[in-house]
Symmetry: C2
Subunit: 553 residues, 2 copies
């Protein structure tokens, strides 16, 4: 028996055909989104804007599944008739305005070129003013709402985006009957749901992103939403009452899509989750494991048994019951840009390509920790955790007239490692156990320099997931559990996931230097991030030079 | 009648044949130094090190004068027999170890490849530890010494370098009979001086760089030098008692060099001054004029009548009577790297050439002030004025994932403009009048974008000197006054200098934005520079974004 995991990333969608018994990957296919800049619609006047065409999602869905099935069909023992379920994961929070038939406005000729009518991609930060207003209102009227998401509601999330649409594109807002996360919308398309009120919503996306919690009866109450805008209160009736964890199906494959995909009609479709949440399952997450999915950005996932009590953690953007595994709190953190920062440096500034990535990486690998005299902040796209502030920006300090591009490249890798350490320290401080780190994503697999630096900076042994498609694999695992191929997630993870043989151990002498550099990073982090408003920086550059001289002997 | 100005820069030497009557330039020739990286000997293990081969100076002297004379010879009315004087300016403080015959150690086979035996170029900062010790000792025992140089003795100067040589290369120190600034050494070569004790030393180089002042009887007393090292006290006897302003000749052209250069023997040689001091004369400096020579670094020069009293100015590295014009205090300030920072960015990081400089400049010219959301510090080579701290380093803040290399290029130009403004504000605050700014140097002539930004940031109208060779011209003017072609410097400047017709006026709407950015620059400047140890930086990145949004509308 087989299930298919479908993973919607920022630039492309991947379908993966997986054998339920052992997780063997029989076929996979990646399809890039045809529109915009690698699938992302940008606005040269506002770097906060990032949208996607929903038509690209449908195009990619059909092509990627067809490609994966075609590849699987070459392997003995595979038949499309033996596919018993589908799972979908996507980026998020990425809300999409739809009409009363659950059809995206952007598929209508009237709206097709309107940026506000497209899907508002996770990394769209145009709603930063609205996020600030939500934070003010919640602090005053509903502090419990934001306590649950680390103390700060983000411009990356559901209400900031929908409210911003109402502010800047009221005609689009008024034309939208409802809004749907693409994590919920793609499964609803496969299930043939023609009414947004009937779309099964996942608690993963609803959780803190839409301020949903069973504790206060679902979405924010109308009184609170009215303080934002009466039209948002009215919208609540056209959204949903209940969100679900992965024990619930999103629906069954409808005849139309069964035909288009060449799969059996009626097979179950797992509830949609965000990519890294299903990715954590694909990495074998369990209590005590931190899963890091390292790509353009990084997402960190832990789970803690729902039988325990867990405090709200300042700056940790989400603790949601059932967001990853049923029966566990999902603890979510992340860094708004990781691979994107290296890409910015290599492609945008140095005007290079993959070869230059490799060349700079090779040169950077020859440098000792502290040797460049540089330290950077990893905030080119804001700080998701632990500051939850999208209005922060990048910083590099310590340059001389002889600082090289490879030194800056390494300093940027180190900056993301320091950001990763700040997250680990914060969650451990609040009682989330971290005794194992499992990494996934292209960077974890292909960049041993980065992995070693992460080990040296955090002091943790870094493992890498065996599958290169852990998100799609996690979606396929969820479908397999739903379809009854395994009795529960623990058994399914045991059978269907494994670790790569390469392991990165911290080097003690590097850790000593990085402890000093991390202290300097924290001076920048805490002063520019607003945690400490009177840090003495007068020795900062001299401390960097002292470290440099000590390291260079 | 004609004089020749010879200008020793960081990468090359230029000779300029000038008609004394009107400053008309009859011939010029530039010769690059053949050794090292564009004439500079570097050490890949220590970015503070920068040395030069004295043989390069002699090679360049002969070639450049020959070339300039050859060019002049093509013009009617010129004859080498009508050359009535020579003037020399050089970088500095650039001390050179010599033997008892005034011959550089580096010309001896035994020492020729020893980096410590070469000329210690102005931008060599290896003596930063020694500079710190000089500051400690002077603060305790001779506060007047460093009050005269802005409160801080620099690693770029005479005693820091010579003491560092004693610390790290005692064999070289012991082999040296004496040390000579190249500003004094080149004229002494032309004059055939065979004993370093007989070299006529200029007060320009001696002034604060060697802590020379008539107020305390010349060089620092032996008691103080003994506190540094007994060998430095002993060296004092092999240096000099008296330093001179430009009313005094360095000597007369000796037979040997008259023959080598094809010039009349016995013509007077002006006292050596640093490039920008004679450059200020070539720009027509007078009380109320700030001369900025903008090149790899920037030097700022003002003069104030010696009949007035002038306070010591904190952070202003030198107020020396006679350092520029006889009868005036020379007030000297500067920025350790300006063109060098752009060169670093374009050539070292972006791996481009002059074409890329032009392309980035063209792209940066399209940006509005504040549009990039960036602000940078201009400290890649430390800060000469007003912090006098070579251990400071570069900083860039405000980067997003879409920040371009042209935006950073512009931010670096702006950073140097902010540094320039800090200097102007400081000297005005202490009563030095600035009612006219005259710029010289390749960047002033060739980079209208930079000049406009400087006007917008400082609020000053920026003029450009008509001569492209203001330093060499100033040297030639000094020679002309010495040879009697003009009664005094005021008359000579009046006759021999002029301004270019292009003038850069501040644009009011730009100034408003730059006032805000300068306030942010000063937050970085004052916190990392140690002037204020408790600046609240929590709004810094948000202020940058506010400015960016306001500018972009």
């Amino acid at each position: 028996m087989f299930t298919i995991g479908i993973d919607y990333g920022t630039n492309s969608v991947r379908a993966l055909v997986v054998r339920s018994a052992d997780g063997a990957e029989f076929g996979s296919c990646v399809v890039g989104y045809p529109s915009g800049d690698e699938g992302v619609l940008l606005d040269s006047h506002d770097h906060h804007l990032a949208r996607q065409r929903p038509a690209d999602y449908l195009f990619g869905l059909e092509r990627s599944v067809a490609g994966a099935l075609a590849e699987a069909a070459k392997r003995p023992g595979f038949s499309a008739a033996n596919v018993i379920g589908l799972g979908v994961d996507t980026t998020g929070s990425s809300p999409l305005p739809v009409d009363a038939q659950n059809r995206p406005l952007a598929l209508d000729d009237k709206w097709k070129d309107n940026l506000a009518a497209q899907c508002w991609l996770w990394k769209d930060h145009t709603g930063w003013r609205e996020a600030a207003r939500i934070n003010e209102l919640a602090a005053k009227h509903r502090p419990q709402y934001i306590a649950k998401c680390g103390g700060v509601y983000s411009s990356e999330w559901w209400w900031s985006k929908i409210w911003h649409c109402l502010d800047v594109a009221p005609a689009v807002f008024d034309a939208a009957f409802s809004w749907v996360e693409i994590a919920d919308w793609i499964p609803s398309v496969l299930a043939g749901v023609g009414d947004p009120r009937k779309v099964k919503r996942g608690v993963c996306a609803a959780g803190h992103k839409a301020l949903y919690s069973d504790e206060w009866g679902g979405l924010p109450d109308k009184e609170f939403l009215s303080l934002m805008h009466p039209k948002l209160a009215a919208l609540r009736d056209r959204l949903y009452e209940k969100a679900h964890d992965a024990t619930e199906a999103a629906g069954a494959l409808c005849d139309e899509w069964a035909k288009r995909l060449g799969l059996p009609a009626g097979i179950p479709i797992a509830i949609g989750e965000f990519d890294v949440h299903y990715g954590a399952i694909g990495c074998g997450v369990r209590e005590g494991t931190l899963v890091k999915v390292i790509g353009t950005s990084t997402c960190d996932i832990c789970v803690v048994s729902a039988e325990k009590s867990i405090d709200d953690i300042p700056g940790i953007c989400g603790i949601v019951k059932g967001a990853v595994l049923p029966g566990y709190y999902g603890v979510e953190a992340g860094q708004s840009a990781v691979g994107d920062i290296f890409k910015w440096w290599v492609e945008w500034v140095c005007k290079g390509d993959a070869d230059l990535h490799a060349a700079l990486s090779a040169e950077a690998a020859k440098q000792k920790p502290g040797q460049s005299g540089l330290v950077a902040l990893d905030w080119n796209n804001g700080n998701r955790t632990i500051l939850v502030d999208q209005l922060l920006s990048g910083l590099i300090v310590g340059q001389t007239l002889y600082t090289t591009r490879a030194e800056i490249y390494r300093a940027l890798i180190e900056a993301t490692a320091f950001g990763a350490r700040a997250i680990i320290e914060r969650i451990k401080e609040y009682g989330v156990p971290v005794d194992r780190v499992v990494c996934a994503g292209g960077i974890a697999e292909k960049n041993p320099l980065l992995m070693q630096i992460y080990a040296d900076v955090t002091g943790c042994t870094m493992h890498v997931a065996a599958s290169s498609q852990s998100c799609a694999l996690g979606s396929a695992i969820s479908a397999a559990v739903l379809a009854g191929a395994h009795p529960n997630f623990a058994a399914a993870e045991q059978a269907m996931t494994s670790l790569a043989s390469t392991v990165y151990e911290p080097v003690a002498v590097h850790k000593v230097v990085y402890d000093q550099l991390y202290a300097l990073y924290r001076q920048l982090h805490d002063s520019f991030g607003g945690l400490n408003r009177s840090i003495d920086l007068s020795r900062f550059m001299k401390d960097l030079i002292d470290i440099k001289y000590a390291v260079n002997g």
